[in-house]
C-alpha cells in the first residue's frame, strides 16, 4: 500500500494544507470585519469545470494508485510469472506522446485565436489517440496469440486490467474531444471552445503520465 499512501498523502496534504491556510488567522465571529479583509476567502478564480476536472483527476489517481498497490502486493507471491511486453507498446507510447503534443499545440493555438491550427490540432490529437487505442488492442491480440491469457497468471490479468482501465479513461476523454471537435468543425468560434480544449489538454497530459507510470512498472517487473 506504500504507493497509495504516498500519492494519497500528497493529495490529502495539498487539500488539508490549502484548507488550513484558509482557516488560520481568521476570526469568523467578528461580523464587523467585512469578508474582503479576512483571510479564508478561499477564492479560486479558475472556472468550475476546471476544479471539477482536478477533483476527478484526484479520484483517478487514487484509483490507479490502489491498482498499483494491489499489483505490488500480488507480485510478491510465489506464482507470479512476468509476461514479456510486446514491442508494439513502445510505438503506442510514442503515438500517445504525439497525441499529447497535438493537444498542447491546439491549446496554444486557442489562446492565439488561430482557428485553422485548432482544427488541425484537435483532429491530429483525436487520430493519435484512436491509433493508440487500436494499438493497445493489437498488443492484446499479440499476447493472446502467444498464449498469455488473462487466466494464465496474475501478471497477465493485471496487464489486461490496467491497460483496459487506462483505455477506458481515454475513451471517456474522447467523448469530450468528440463534442469539442464537432463544435469547431461546425464553425463555433475559438473562444467558445477554449475551456474545453484546455481541459482536454490537461486530461490527456495526465493520462499520458499515468500510461508512462504503468508502462514503466510493467517493464520493470
Amino acid at each position: 500500500m506504500t504507493i497509495t499512501l504516498v500519492l494519497l498523502g500528497i493529495i490529502m496534504a495539498t487539500v488539508i494544507g490549502w484548507l488550513l491556510r484558509q482557516t488560520l488567522n481568521t476570526e469568523p465571529w467578528d461580523a464587523l470585519d467585512p469578508a474582503e479583509n479576512q483571510p479564508g476567502r478561499g477564492v479560486i478564480t479558475a472556472p468550475p469545470s476546471k476544479i471539477g476536472l482536478m477533483t476527478f483527476i484526484a479520484v483517478v489517481t487514487s484509483l490507479f494508485a490502489l491498482f498499483l498497490s494491489a499489483y505490488m502486493m500480488r507480485m510478491q507471491l510465489g506464482d507470479w510469472r512476468p509476461l514479456p511486453e510486446p514491442d508494439l507498446l513502445w510505438l503506442n507510447t510514442a503515438v500517445l506522446v504525439l497525441a499529447s503534443f497535438a493537444f498542447q499545440m491546439t491549446r496554444r493555438a486557442v489562446t492565439r485565436g488561430q482557428l485553422q491550427t485548432v482544427k488541425t490540432g484537435l483532429i491530429a490529437g483525436g487520430v493519435c489517440t484512436a491509433l493508440f487505442l487500436i494499438g493497445q488492442l493489437v498488443a492484446w491480440q499479440q499476447l493472446g496469440a502467444t498464449g498469455y491469457f488473462i487466466t494464465g497468471n496474475p501478471a497477465n490479468a493485471f496487464f489486461y486490467l490496467l491497460t483496459a482501465l487506462h483505455g477506458l479513461h481515454l475513451l471517456g476523454g474522447m467523448w469530450v474531444w468528440g463534442r469539442t471537435t464537432t463544435r469547431v468543425l461546425k464553425g463555433a468560434d475559438v473562444e467558445s471552445v477554449r475551456l474545453s480544449v484546455e481541459l482536454c489538454t490537461v486530461y490527456w497530459h495526465y493520462l499520458l503520465l499515468v500510461w508512462i507510470g504503468l508502462f514503466g512498472l510493467l517493464l520493470s517487473t
Partner: protein, 608 residues
C-alpha cells in the same frame, strides 16, 4: 477586485428552468428535488434493511421458532442489512440527501455547479439500488458472504448467492461508486466555487465542513472498493486469481491458484475505514448546527471544530488495518495501527467536549431536533469509548468475533448517525415542506428510539464479554453461555421489534404533516444560516429571488449581547441589526429577515 463571487462573474450559472411535470419532479436538475429523490430512495432501502434486521432478531431471540428463516436466509439478511445500511442508506442519505439539499442553500447559491451531472448521479444511484434489491430474486438469492464480502468464501459454492447474488452485489457497488463520484465532484466544486459574496470558508456552517470533508474522503476512498469489486468480479467471471488461492472446494480443485485473500482485506478496509468517517463527519457537522441553533448559543470552538474535521479526515486513511488484527499481521504493524487508531480519538473527543460546552449555559430549547442531537452525544460517546477498547490489539483479539463488536459499531456508526439523520430531518422538515411536524409524535419517536437503543445494545456488550460469537445462525447447546444469555437475547429481540415499529411513527408523522401540519413560517427555529432566509418556503427553483444574499457574519450569532433578537441571520448587515434599546420605539417588523409573524417559539414560548 480581490473577491469575485461566482454570482458576480460575467457568466452567472445558467439555470435550466423546468417546464413540465416530468422535468420538474422526475428528470429534475434542481438540487432540492434531487435531494428529496435521494432521501426517499435511501429511506425506502433503509426500511428493507430494517425489516431484514427484524428477521435476524427473531431468529436470534427465538431460535427454532421460525421455520421460514433458514441459515441461508439468515446470512443473506446479515449481508444485505449491513451493506444497505452503511452504503445505500447512510452514505446516500447524508451526502446525496442532506448534501444536495443544504450545500447550495447554505452557501447562497442557486444550484449545484453541474446540475445535469447531479441528476445523473441520482439516476445511477437508483439503478444501483434496483440491481442490489434484484439480487433477492435471482436463482440462489442474494449474497450471504457478510457485508465485508471476504474472498474466497464470497465466491465459492456453498456460500448463499455465490453465483448471481455476489455478482449483482458487486455491480451494484460499482454503480453506486459511479453515482457517488458524480455527486461528489459536484459537492466539492460547488462548495469551492459557488459561495455567495461574503461567505468565506470560515463562515460556513459546520454542516458544510462535515459534508465537504466526507465527500473528499469518499472520492478518494471509494476507488478502493471499486478496485476490489472489479478484481473480485474478474476472479468470479474470468477465472483470474487476484484474491483466490489454490483451493479445494466440494472435493474438487478450483482453477484458481496463488491469490491473496489478505490483499482483498487491505483494499476493502482501505475503503471501509474512511467509510466510517464518510458517515460520521456529516453527522458531526449537522449535529453541531442543531445543538447551536437549539441551545441559542454559538458553537463552542468553531475553529477547533473545523480543524478536528480536517484532522479526522487526514487520519482516517491510516487506521484501516485495525479491522484486520484477527487476520494476523506483523506485531509492529499492529502497534502502528493501534497507535493511529487511538490518536484519532483525540480530535473526536475535542468535538464531543465542544458539543457539551456548547450546551453549557445555553438557553436550551428541548425541541425534537434538539432531543435527537443530545441523544447523539450519548450514543456516540458510548460507542466511541468501546472503540478505544477495540483499537488495542490485545483487547480486540478475544472480542473481535463476539457481540461486543456488534454493539460497538452499531452504537458508533449505526445509531449515532441515524439519530442525527432523524434530528436533521425534523430540523429541516419545515424548510423542505413548509409545514411543521407533530411535536408530540416526534418526542414519542425520540424516546422510544433512544431508550430502545440502549435496551438493544447495552446487553450486547455483556453478551460479547461472555464470548457469545457473532455471525452465528443459532447458538445451540454450549457450556460457556449461561441461561441468562438466551433470556437477554429474547429481551434484545423484543426491544428491537419495538424500536423498529416506532420508526413508523416517524414515517406517519412526516407523511401526515405534509397535509395536516401547521404552516411553519420561513424560520421556525429562529436560525441564522442562509437556508432559513430564503424568500419562499419551501424555496423555489433558483432558491433566491432576483438577488443572491450577501453574507455579513458567521453562522453562529446567537444570543449576541445587546441585540433585540437572540439570533442574527448571516445575511444581516451590521447596521441593520435591531438592538434591544430600539425595540420599544420601533415597529416590530423592522427585522425583516425571516421572522415575520413569528410571535411564538417552536414550543410556544415567547421569543426573546
Amino acid at each position: 477586485m480581490a473577491y469575485v463571487a461566482i454570482a458576480d462573474r460575467d457568466h452567472e450559472q445558467e439555470l435550466h428552468d423546468p417546464t413540465t411535470f416530468i422535468t420538474k419532479y422526475i428528470w429534475s436538475q434542481d438540487h432540492k428535488v434531487i435531494a428529496i429523490q435521494y432521501s426517499i430512495t435511501a429511506m425506502f432501502v433503509g426500511l428493507v434493511a430494517l425489516g431484514l434486521s427484524a428477521m435476524m432478531r427473531l431468529q436470534l431471540g427465538f431460535p427454532d421458532s421460525f421455520s421460514f428463516i433458514t441459515p441461508t436466509d439468515y446470512y443473506q439478511f446479515i449481508t444485505m442489512h449491513g451493506m444497505i445500511m452503511v452504503i445505500f442508506l447512510l452514505t446516500a442519505l447524508f451526502l446525496g440527501g442532506f448534501g444536495n439539499y443544504l450545500i447550495p442553500l447554505m452557501i447562497g447559491s442557486r444550484d449545484m455547479v453541474f446540475p445535469y451531472m447531479n441528476m445523473m448521479s441520482y439516476w445511477v444511484y437508483l439503478v444501483s439500488v434496483i440491481v442490489l434489491l434484484a439480487s433477492f430474486f435471482v436463482p440462489g438469492g442474494a449474497t450471504g458472504a457478510g457485508w465485508t464480502l471476504y474472498p474466497p468464501q464470497a465466491i465459492l459454492p456453498g456460500t448463499p448467492g455465490s453465483e448471481l447474488g455476489i455478482l449483482l452485489m458487486l455491480v451494484a457497488l460499482a454503480l453506486f461508486i459511479v453515482a457517488f463520484t458524480m455527486g461528489g465532484l459536484n459537492y466539492v466544486t460547488t462548495i469551492l466555487q459557488a459561495r455567495t459574496r461574503g461567505m468565506t470558508l470560515m463562515r460556513m456552517p459546520l454542516s458544510l465542513w462535515g459534508i465537504f470533508m466526507a465527500t473528499i474522503l469518499g472520492l478518494l476512498a471509494f476507488p478502493a472498493l471499486f478496485v476490489s469489486a472489479v478484481m473480485m468480479t474478474l476472479d468470479k467471471v474470468a477465472g483470474t486469481s487476484f484474491f483466490m488461492p489454490a483451493i479445494l472446494s466440494m472435493g474438487e480443485t478450483m482453477d484458481h491458484e496463488g491469490g491473496s485473500p489478505i490483499l482483498f482485506q487491505h483494499l476493502f478496509w482501505f475503503f471501509g475505514h474512511p467509510e466510517v468517517y464518510i458517515v460520521a463527519l456529516p453527522a458531526f457537522g449537522l449535529v453541531s448546527d442543531l445543538l447551536s441553533t437549539h441551545a441559542r448559543k454559538a458553537i463552542f470552538g468553531y475553529r477547533m471544530m473545523v480543524w478536528a474535521i480536517l484532522a479526522i479526515g487526514g487520519l482516517s486513511f491510516i487506521v484501516w488495518a485495525h479491522h484486520m488484527y484477527v487476520s494476523g499481521m506483523n506485531p509492529y504493524f499492529g502497534f502502528f495501527f493501534a497507535t493511529t487508531t487511538l490518536i484519532i480519538a483525540v480530535p473526536t473527543a475535542i468535538k464531543v467536549y465542544n458539543w457539551v460546552l456548547t450546551l453549557w449555559q445555553g438557553n436550551i430549547r428541548m425541541t425534537v431536533p434538539m432531543l435527537f442531537a443530545i441523544g447523539f452525544i450519548f450514543t456516540f460517546t458510548h460507542g466511541g469509548l468501546t472503540g478505544i477498547f477495540l483499537g488495542n490489539v490485545v483487547v480486540d483479539l478475544p472480542l473481535s468475533d463476539t457481540y461486543f463488536v456488534v454493539a460497538h459499531f452499531h452504537m458508533v456508526m449505526g445509531v449515532s448517525p441515524i439519530l442525527v439523520v432523524f434530528g436533521s430531518i425534523y430540523h429541516w422538515y419545515p424548510k423542505i415542506t413548509g409545514k411543521m411536524f407533530n411535536q408530540t409524535l416526534g418526542k414519542l419517536h425520540f424516546w422510544i428510539t433512544f431508550l430502545g437503543t440502549y435496551a438493544i445494545y447495552l446487553p450486547m456488550h455483556y453478551l460479547g464479554f461472555l464470548g457469545v460469537p457473532r455471525r452465528y445462525y443459532a447458538m445451540g447447546d454450549t457450556e460457556f453461555m449461561p441461561e441468562s444469555a438466551f433470556t437477554l437475547n429474547q429481551g434484545i429481540t423484543i426491544s428491537a421489534l419495538i424500536v423498529g415499529a416506532a420508526q413508523f411513527i416517524f414515517l406517519y408523522n412526516i407523511i401526515v404533516s405534509l397535509k395536516k401540519g401547521k404552516d411553519a413560517g420561513s424560520n421556525p427555529w429562529e436560525a441564522t444560516t442562509l437556508e432559513w432566509q430564503t424568500p419562499d418556503t419551501p424555496p423555489k427553483h433558483g432558491n433566491w429571488g432576483p438577488e443572491l444574499p450577501v453574507v455579513h457574519r458567521w453562522a453562529y450569532d446567537y444570543s449576541v449581547p445587546g441585540c433585540r433578537d437572540d439570533f442574527i441571520p448571516q445575511n444581516m448587515a451590521p447596521d441593520d441589526v435591531p438592538m434591544a434599546a430600539d425595540s420599544v420605539s420601533q415597529s416590530p417588523d423592522v427585522g425583516t429577515h425571516g421572522s415575520e409573524g413569528e410571535t411564538d417559539g417552536p414550543d410556544g414560548e415567547p421569543v426573546a
